[in-house]
């Protein structure tokens, strides 16, 4: 009965340009990412943009960092 549940996670990347660049990098590696306005910014961040990915946040983070996109933090999608 119990299948594998893939977690939805937000990768917070700050600006919309970072988010769009990040989405392109992830798409090129076969990871689908959805661009969102960050709805619950951390206290130190303020407003910004995030990429929503399903189940591959760590790999996505690695791709983003190696592509020069600053990852602020990762949080679970509620």
């Amino acid at each position: 009965m119990g299948g594998i549940v893939l977690a939805n996670q937000y990768i917070h990347v700050g600006s919309i340009t970072n988010a769009m660049r990040g989405r392109r990098l992830l798409e090129a590696q076969g990871i689908r990412a959805y661009l969102h306005r960050t709805s619950h910014p951390a206290e130190g961040d303020g407003c910004g943009y995030s990429l929503l990915v399903t189940g591959q946040a760590q790999r996505a983070e690695q791709i983003l960092r190696s592509g020069g996109v600053r990852v602020v933090r990762i949080s679970d999608a509620l």
Partner: protein, 388 residues
Amino acid sequence: MIYWDNAATTWPKPASVRAAVGQALVRYGANPGRAGHDMAMATGQEVYTCREELAEFFGLKDPTGVVFTLNCTAGLNTVIRGLLEEGGRALTSDLEHNAVRRPLAALSARYPRYDTAAWSPDEDETVEHFRRAIRPDTRLLVCTHASNVFGVTLPIRKLARLAHDHGLLFCVDAAQSAGVLPVDMEADGIDYLCVAPHKGLYAPMGTGLLLCRERDKIPPLVRGGTGSYSVQAVQPPDLPDRLESGTPNTAGICGIRAGLRFVREKGRERIYAHEIALLQRVYDRLASHPGIRVYTPRPAVGRTAPVLSLNVVGLPSEQTAALLNEQGIAVRAGLHCAPLAHTRFGTMPQGTVRLAPSAFSTPQEVKKIGDIFSKIAKKSLHSGKNMI
């Protein structure tokens, strides 16, 4: 009107550019990068796509290094003041526009902060002049790609190599060349490229580009809202946000994108060859005229930008331009904000009449310009005046 003042700004703008600017106010009317609603996201996407296409066109790997500025001058100021305000010297050419010369002069209020190397028709000689002018505290080599007055070019790839061999950063003022001459930041070794998209890219005025291959060394001249990291009092370090505070000119950016598409569809090389061919006709008709003095070498693909400078013997350049205007021909006369170049070519203080065609210019226009120049020159010769 015959408009040959395209070195100042291209006109007419393509119908696709006019449509894109108008449509931007309807479809992309929201502030990009500030909100999460659909129109803001669509506008953000349009702006980012423009960055991607510009990066690809100019050979820049990372599109986040494409910074939208008020104009080319703003980009040059950002680089020059950002890199040199704390110290160090610049090295530049003797063909520069005031967009380079004045920021350097302002830095030199207390002591000289820049050196000037002479352009030569021989590329290697030019490079040698630059090499000899490098000092221990030289930090930046900044120069025009093509003279906005005489069309002659600087060997940017060779100068980039020289700069990097000496640990200097290399900035190119491509106001007159972008969209016309080939520019590839990676292949050419350009660290910073400043572009006037309202010229060779047929975008609206009030637009500019600073493309950064070197991403970390320039602090912002202007600080403010970026839509990102808003709790922090310091400017975000990421490009383009670090150098792009405040609401961008989205209608202008949509115009840049449409203009770039126009140039790509027509073919940059084809447009360039067309403009040079027109100027060759002008040159061949007027250069041997006893009443006309042409200062630009015969225009040639790969050697010059499509700009030609001349004077009617005996007439101040501004007077010639006024006579041309009476006949419906729009050109620019005087010093073209580039007194250094005029000094180099011996045309100070009277300046020159500058002819600059565009993709829309025609051989019929060349004929009319040639006829009217000949008529003015004949009249001037017969009047026997020698006013310049």
